[in-house]
Symmetry: C2
């Protein structure tokens, strides 16, 4: 059984750094069925860019962003678990964000949208779960930004989950990641088509800046070693040649893409700029910079207060955006807080995005944890 819907948040929904949102909603999708004692729910938060469509369902048969991980018999087995995935507050796939209409003005929020925090994403996601009859989660789980969100969930909603799973996340944005994101935002905001947030539509928005932001993101989501074996110094593939047709005329021939890796970036960027709202991108990106679990006290005490029965922290050695040391820091905070913690330090070569690619390793780690 699967479903998708929209949950209304408490009205108004007060925000972590001040201000509030009227009539805010969270888009979600779910798979499986909540059992009689409501004890089998898993709440899944996403990375920065995905929607709540983590897996295909009857309403939307397109593959989801974690298609191979969620379903009957899969690592997150929907014959057993009731899985809810939420689109983050501030995003643009059905949840309230800067691209939504402000009901008080009848116009899109754009830069009038209040600052959102990772804490708000956690609290809004929990409200969506609650709207489905869930009183306590079996497991709160999230990769990337979602791995930050589960830390914020821990701080803001102690006792609301029995188990904790962080995947390639962070309990405090690193200066390296802040630096990268600040450059990505600068690329968007200095594109004249951004128009201080007043572009007519995503397609008529700061495409050049969003392309740069996404290409840079793509570089940081993988690893140099993976690319060395995958692309080496090869020329453009057929697919790459098609992808860079878009770039033709935009730059002089001598500087137009000629290496396979450039074609790959091109394809990634074009896909992203067609679907992601630039203002939403800016808000979510900045929210990540500002997250630090220490704002809530000693991380060990924050985790102890949450009282998890057990926790799983998965990190990837080749991840240089959310580095393995950051994963170790989350695990260490949990352990100091007295939580029974497994730290799965995976030797995948795919970097930050390994959770989307190296499915055998992630399947084993998550399946094992959930079955215990």
């Amino acid at each position: 059984m699967s479903a998708s819907g929209t949950a209304a948040l408490p009205n108004p929904f007060a925000l972590w750094r001040g201000g509030s949102l009227p009539d805010a909603v969270i888009a979600y999708e779910s798979w499986g069925r909540l059992n009689a004692d409501r004890s089998n729910a898993i709440l899944l938060f996403t990375g920065l860019s995905p929607s709540a469509h983590a897996a295909s369902n009857s309403e939307n048969p397109d593959p989801g962003w974690w298609e191979k991980m969620i379903g009957p018999g899969r690592a997150i087995d929907t014959d057993h678990w009731f899985v809810v995935c939420v689109n983050s507050l501030g995003s643009c796939f059905g949840s309230t964000g800067p691209a939504s209409i402000n009901p008080e003005t009848g116009k899109a929020w754009r830069l009038e949208f209040p600052e959102i925090a990772v804490e708000d994403i956690a609290r809004a996601g929990w409200e969506a779960a609650r709207s489905l009859g869930i009183e306590q989660l079996d497991t709160v789980m999230g990769p990337s930004l979602g791995g930050m969100v589960v830390c914020a969930f821990t701080a803001c909603l102690p006792g609301k989950a029995r188990r904790f799973v962080s995947i390639s996340g962070s309990s405090a944005a690193s200066p390296f990641a802040i630096a990268l994101r600040s450059v990505q935002r600068e690329a968007v905001m200095t594109d004249p088509d951004w128009r201080n947030g007043q572009y007519a539509s995503t397609l008529q928005g700061p495409r050049a800046g969003m392309r740069i932001a996404r290409k840079l993101g793509t570089i940081t989501y993988r690893s140099a070693d993976e690319w060395r074996s995958r692309f080496a110094r090869s020329g453009l593939t057929e697919q790459g040649i098609r992808a860079v047709q878009n770039a033709k005329g935009r730059v002089p021939e001598s500087f137009s893409p000629r290496f396979a890796v450039e074609g790959y970036l091109e394809a990634q960027a074009e896909r992203f700029v067609r679907i992601f709202d630039p203002n939403c991108y800016l808000y979510l990106s900045r929210a990540m910079d500002c997250f630090d679990i220490a704002d809530h006290g000693d991380p060990a005490e924050v985790f102890a207060r949450a009282g998890y029965e057990s926790a799983l922290v998965i990190g990837v050695e080749s991840d240089f955006l959310f580095a393995i040391d950051e994963q170790a820091a989350i695990a260490e905070g949990l352990q100091r807080g007295g939580i029974k913690t497994e730290f799965a330090r995976l030797p995948c070569v795919e970097g930050h995005d390994a959770f989307l690619v190296d499915l055998p390793r992630f399947d084993a780690a998550i399946r094992g944890f959930l079955s215990r």
Copy 2:
């Protein structure tokens, strides 16, 4: 004794990938004195952005980019060595490049400048050395792009140096570095002020794009670990606040810099965009992508043909732009070519830029090698 000057290249100067340059020149600076048998010369190539001003001299007392390494009693001891540093062909500090006047039209070359290769930088630098009476170098040396140039020198000018020193270089651009540079160039070329290369001056050029390119460069020149200890999650410093005054008004308050690391990037970017010509940047950046010693044959044979008496390869473990594996590959090529090779694998935390910062370790490695 020190000097600076301009050497005329053979006219016309034929280029590696076709075409030629009329009346081309190379700017150089030198320190020390060529001895009677002309056997004590060191030719130093630079990274992408520096001028030939590697150290202060009587004509220019400003500190050079490697001030602490070059001088009487220093690692590169100018009481003993005659050191020549060249501004790369294609750059904008006195050597012929896209910002120079094309003598055939009387106008700046801009995008009419022919494609330059790392091989051309090597050959032009050698011509500058030759113009000073040098027939064979004791040592050819270079960091970063300069470390690529010494590989190209090896291929193009066998027998012209007795010893070889590569510092955080590469014998073949990696797909990861190509990807990063392609994003940097895209930032410059999609800035409307680039005007397809026809901006009025560097200061009236694509500053927004150059800022992004340099900030991204700065991120890749250091390491996440260094920044974690240096900046942590601190707010802007006094210096950072001054630096970001420039950004005021350019972006909305909620997205303007607030972390120390953002102020650092801001200062680096502003310094760079005032001095570096955007078209020159594009040409040198693309030249790096296209370099591969294998274009000249099996690297071992290329090194063997050069017949070096000995070689030193210095790499930094935290360098993720020119990764330690790339340094190991250079050393391995030399060793397979029968060259007596030292590989100094340094545990510096400063990443690619360590050669500018961790002077004790670099001093020891270079001093030791040169004195043998």
